[in-house]
């Protein structure tokens, strides 16, 4: 579950050992989680996410029963690792994903279902249908994108600003359309 702190705290209450997987973007989160886990007297093992993570399934399968996994990483790394935790026999209740790099997600256009490249801006012009989107933080694992809602003229930023955004390199179009 992404960003669900209540579940995370409940998970900490129930276990004695956690394994933290972190990439460079998730390092800060992993340090905080490690500190909190140690205060609670939990065993902690930290694994660096790099390369293709050969042997991750074997490592996970060798963990004692009741081990919980925390992943502090970019959404892209989370997306790649997620099926491998399932393959190693870990269910949703046993893995906690902590996405790092908020605001750098691809954007799902609800008007045309096109996927736009990642942006840090609050608004975006859909490269598939040309409509202006308000970029939210609502994230879908299935689409690996945050929700981009349509806007009406009364909500929009001035035209000159939209043009500037549309012309900037930040909004290169990805050729994915769902």
């Amino acid at each position: 579950m992404m960003g669900d702190t209540t579940r995370w705290h409940r998970m900490m209450d129930d276990v004695v050992r956690i394994v933290i997987f972190a990439d460079s973007d998730g390092e800060k989160h992993s340090t905080n989680i490690e500190a909190e886990a140690k205060i609670r007297g939990l065993q902690v093992d930290i694994r660096r996410i790099d390369g293709n993570m050969t042997g991750i399934e074997t490592y996970l399968q060798a963990q004692p029963m009741g081990t919980r996994v925390v992943v502090c990483a970019t959404r892209s790394n989370i997306q790649q690792l997620r099926p491998r935790f399932v393959d190693a026999g870990y269910g949703n209740e046993e893995v906690f994903f902590y996405p790092a790099g908020e605001g750098h997600s691809r954007v799902f256009c609800v008007g045309c279902y096109g996927i736009n490249d990642p942006t840090t801006e609050a608004t975006n012009v859909c490269c598939h249908c040309g409509r202006q989107l308000a970029v939210s933080t609502h994230y879908s694992i299935r689409h690996d994108a945050v929700f981009g809602s349509l806007t009406v003229p009364e909500q929009r930023v001035p035209t000159s600003e939209v043009t500037r955004i549309a012309n900037s390199e930040d909004f290169a179009c990805e050729s994915i359309k769902h």
């Binding site: 992404m2 689409h143 929700f147 009406v152 009364e154 909500q155």
Partner: protein, 313 residues
């Protein structure tokens, strides 16, 4: 619609998100109202034009979908025998919809004989939207849906999400732990004991299909509400959400029946008028924004207050 049949959602003068589920009594999931023919035809038109938007399903939900079809057709024939008939001969079922003057025959559990998936099929005979959630490791996951009248949420985007992730946009509900409490409650719902709750918002314009996919068609009306048109343009939108545990697959079925009532009709009931005024006056700003009320919030408050003063005077 007639105010006598409208499910007014407020029981107090303030509104906060809460676990407002209560047992559904009588345990009937489907309501047939005088708007049946108009709304079902509208649903079918939307499905013809925008099937991907209105229908999503995972392949492994087929058993649960047949459970939904079976339960709803049996209930409809039993509760509304004047409108629907279900007869069976061996494995061949005949469903008659007298309101639409239709009759269909199919082989139970044979999806090919229906011509479409069972949830899609039964959804075309009820006014309700139908959402199916499977239970996985104590989490609820949206695994299928027949959604024509969404309250500004996208089935295409939310399909496959957990209950918690679906509710991420609702202000405070996840952070304050309420979503998790509700999810835990839902996972304990037992077969044969359905629950119900009312959800509400305010719409500018009379439109059941407030999908985010078409927000640029209907969203602009929010900014066109004036003192002159507020009473006829703004509607209280109420969703009656019933929850039912399917006995075989243990999936949860949400049925959502959407009602709209013009403010000009609502204010004729003075208790409702005053309660709506009190709720809107004290509604937390993040909820005013989230529910899309912000552009006409003050205009509506002024109108409700004016009506109250006029009657008191």
């Amino acid at each position: 619609m007639a105010t006598s049949r409208f499910p007014f959602p407020f029981t107090a003068s303030e509104y906060h998100y809460s676990n407002n589920l209560r047992p559904l009594d009588p345990p009937v999931l489907i309501q047939v109202t005088p708007e049946y023919v108009e709304e079902v035809r509208y649903k079918r038109a939307l499905l013809r034009q925008h099937h991907d938007r209105c229908y999503q399903s995972e392949q492994e939900t087929m058993t649960a979908q047949w459970e939904v079809l079976s339960h709803l057709f049996h209930e409809m024939a039993e509760v509304y025998p004047q409108h629907f008939t279900l007869t069976k001969q061996d494995n061949v079922w005949t469903f008659q919809n007298h309101l639409l003057q239709e009759q269909v025959q199919f082989e139970y559990l044979n999806t090919q004989s229906l011509g479409m998936e069972p949830l899609d099929f039964v959804g075309r005979h009820v006014q309700e939207d139908l959402i199916l959630m499977s239970q996985r490791d104590e989490e609820l996951v949206l695994c299928a849906g027949h959604l024509c009248f969404p309250g500004n949420w996208s089935l295409k985007f939310d399909a496959g999400m957990t209950f918690m992730d679906i509710h991420h946009p609702v202000p405070g509900i996840v952070e304050e732990g309420l979503a998790e409490k509700i999810q835990r409650f839902l996972t304990y719902i037992e077969t044969g004991r359905p629950w119900t709750r009312l959800n509400w918002s305010l719409n500018a314009g009379r439109r059941l299909d407030t999908s985010p996919e078409t927000f640029d068609e209907w969203g602009t009306l929010r900014f066109q509400v004036t003192a002159e048109n507020v009473a006829e343009l703004v509607h209280l939108r109420v969703e009656e959400q019933n929850l039912f545990r399917l006995p075989r697959t243990q999936s949860l079925l949400f049925t959502i029946h959407t009602y709209l009532l013009e403010i000009e009709k609502l204010v004729k009931n003075h208790a409702w008028r005053d309660q709506l005024y009190d709720v809107l006056r004290t509604l937390a700003p993040p909820l005013v924004e989230y529910k899309g009320i912000l552009p006409f919030h003050q205009v509506l408050l002024n109108y409700l207050h004016g009506e109250r003063v006029r009657d008191d005077g």
